[in-house]
């Protein structure tokens, strides 16, 4: 600091130079990863339900659903059809914990402690979100490996698998934003969990996740058109099957799987922006007016 008082206060070791934006992101990234490792329960619970779905659906509905899939969509085994959907389910389930983490921080005073520190506030939330995205990427990878073990085929190989993870991350952002918005608005852990979980099943079932849309009632088809899950699942599935599987937006401009992936990614990015803006607005309002 260029203060003339600097000499007089030389004994005081306030170090401003050490705080950089990237440094602040890193500090918070580390903290939230540490907390995730400390709390394996959260990690496991958000994986267990999708895994149960993956195993039970393929075992119980495999034969019936497989026929429906062949009739109304790509000619692949149900495992292969289901794995992209479960990947999106993992993203959805894990995104809820982002808001829960924020509520916990508000409740135990860490939110205020961080606000009163010189850390850049944008960097603080970036670091936290990055840690959550990292965790989602790990969890989706686990699902992909498990799916392959169960007999799913990834037509595009490792590159396709990376693509599925990337789509899962892109998809998760809007729900991460949504759960943080819930957290700021309710400031209550139970409400945040219930609010976010309540939406999970309708979102999953009223989409192209478990069966091809053409085999579903028309009201579901209509709803699915406005459901972000449809776009996430279709993009992931197109990448996994290397085929254009999306029916809610039909285009042939890009060729092959890209006819699904490009429009779906565009839609997801738009939704992310909208929800992200809302979360940023609510968070900055909460930050500037303190925890009232």
């Amino acid at each position: 600091m260029s203060s003339p008082d600097a000499d007089a206060t030389a004994a005081r070791s306030v170090d401003q130079s050490a705080n950089t934006f990237a440094g602040d992101v890193w500090v918070n990234f580390k903290r939230w990863n540490l907390k995730a490792v400390r709390n394996p329960f959260v990690l496991v619970v958000s994986l267990v339900q999708p895994i149960i779905f993956l195993v039970l659906f393929t075992e119980v509905f495999g034969n019936v659903a497989g026929a429906a899939v062949s009739r109304g969509g790509p000619n692949v085994g149900y495992e292969t059809f289901l794995v992209p959907a479960i990947s999106i389910q993992v993203a959805l389930a894990a995104a809820v914990t982002s808001g829960v983490g924020l509520v916990n921080d508000i409740e135990n005073g860490m939110f205020e402690k961080v606000l009163v520190s010189p850390m850049n506030r944008t960097a603080v939330f970036l670091g936290k979100t990055a840690a959550e995205l990292f965790r989602i990427a790990v969890q989706i990878s686990i699902i992909l490996v498990l799916g392959v073990v169960l007999g799913a085929e990834i037509a595009t190989g490792v590159a396709g698998a990376v693509g599925v993870v990337a789509v899962g991350l892109l998809f998760s952002l809007w729900f991460v934003s949504f759960s943080n918005a819930l957290a700021v608005l309710t400031r209550d852990q139970e409400s945040t969990i219930i609010g976010a979980n309540l939406l999970q099943f309708p979102l999953l079932f009223l989409s192209s996740a478990f069966l091809p849309l053409s085999t579903l009632p028309s009201w579901i088809q209509t709803f699915a058109r406005f459901n972000p899950v449809t776009y996430g699942v279709d993009a992931a599935r197109a990448m996994m099957l290397d085929a254009d599987v999306m029916v809610v937006i039909e285009t042939t401009a890009f060729g092959g799987a890209l006819d699904s992936v490009v429009p779906a990614v565009a839609v997801l990015a738009t939704i992310d922006l909208a929800f992200g803006a809302m979360a940023v607005y609510l968070l900055s309002r909460a930050s500037s007016s303190d925890v009232q």
């Binding site: 203060s3 004994a11 005081r12 306030v14 170090d15 705080n19 402690k113 007016s289």
Partner: protein, 350 residues
């Protein structure tokens, strides 16, 4: 305030750590938490901010710490404006909130480590600083246990450690020793004194008037969002108007009533204040020491049985009673800090 440099260089033209001029803060729901507070805290001072719950202590601290933006008035902290230069202020203050603020999922060491990183304590100094602070708050043996296993007092001590990692020139302590046992409290007092001796300005609020008396160079009393008295502890006690004679009596409330009448009519005291206490009466008067025994003799002559007596200098409790009147009960009645669950609903405690 016009004298102060407004270019954000942080030059404190006044030599004050805090300059608040007509600070006013009104919450969104219309609650006037701070009506009109003007105060200056010179660099290096150990300043105490007292007042009953809901008087505006915590709200004022939150404005100084840049957590709340003032509705009106000018506030400069370490020479920086709270509205324009909040980041510079955050770099140069330590803040210990009223509600204990630690991450229960991390160990004591990790909590302090995180604070070091948040405040940019140089990497080379971190390990030493962490060890020093753990030792200071007596948590060295528990350093690698998760904070969720700690008792309330241990959590509070850990919180104190995290507020001091960057050795800031100005530290805000909002009821730092609430809920601590006497040993832990004394330990923290020693440290607060030590960092104050090194030149650190300390802004303290407390429920314990004894704590304020022990530690503070100067005190201000806030009531309903306005400062109603300030001065050194000795100054404030002098304003009570003399020493206090406490007399214990047999015979219940009837005896106390009679004794109070006798004391009020007792000619040797000029302008005495007489109050009935739980087991007798208390008389505050300038000449309580000189003529105290005369009063005792008079009471015996009136047929009252004196079971005990004591002449003492006034304490801050007496000051408080005199200044805040009815409000003092709220202060005494207040126990530990609000639990996190209550924190959202405790509008009245700001």
């Amino acid at each position: 305030m016009e004298r102060t440099a407004s270019d954000g260089t942080g030059e404190s033209a006044t030599g004050n750590a805090i300059d608040a001029d007509e600070l006013r803060l009104v919450y969104g729901d219309g609650t006037v938490a701070v009506a009109d507070v003007s105060l200056s805290v010179p660099e290096g001072e150990f300043f105490g901010f007292l007042g009953p719950n809901g008087a505006g202590k915590t709200t004022s601290i939150k404005v100084f710490a840049t957590l709340l933006s003032p509705t009106d008035g000018t506030v400069r902290v370490n020479g920086f404006d709270v509205r324009a230069d909040s980041r510079q202020i955050r770099e140069t203050i330590g803040y210990m909130a009223q509600e204990t603020s630690i991450d229960p999922e991390m160990t004591a060491r990790e909590n302090i480590q995180f604070a070091c990183e948040a405040y940019g304590v140089p990497r080379t100094e971190r390990d030493d600083r962490i060890a020093e602070l753990l030792d200071l708050v007596d948590l060295a043996d528990e350093a690698d246990k998760r904070a969720e296993e700690f008792s309330g007092g241990m959590k509070k001590r850990l919180d104190a450690a995290t507020a001091l990692v960057h050795e800031p020139p100005l530290v805000f302590l909002d009821e730092p020793t609430t809920g601590l046992d006497p040993k832990a409290r004394n330990r923290l007092w020693d440290y607060f004194r030590a960092i104050n001796d090194r030149g650190t300005t300390i802004f303290l609020t407390t429920q314990y008037l004894e704590e304020a008396d022990q530690l503070c160079d100067r005190l201000a009393v806030i009531l309903d969002g306005e400062i109603v008295a300030d001065g050194s502890p000795v100054d404030l006690k002098r304003r009570v108007g003399g020493d206090v004679l406490e007399v214990g009596l047999d015979g219940g409330s009837e005896a106390r009533d009679r004794a109070a009448v006798v004391a009020r009519e007792f000619g040797a005291f000029e302008s005495a204040t007489v109050e009935e206490t739980a087991d007798g009466i208390s008389v505050t008067a300038a000449t309580a020491r000189q003529h105290g025994t005369d009063l005792l003799v008079r009471l015996r002559d009136e047929g009252l049985t004196v079971t005990g007596f004591n002449v003492r200098a006034p304490t801050l409790d007496d000051v408080f009673l005199a200044i805040t009147g009815d409000h003092v009960e709220e202060l005494d009645g207040a126990s530990g800090p609000a639990t996190p669950a209550e924190a959202t609903a405790q509008e009245g405690d700001r």
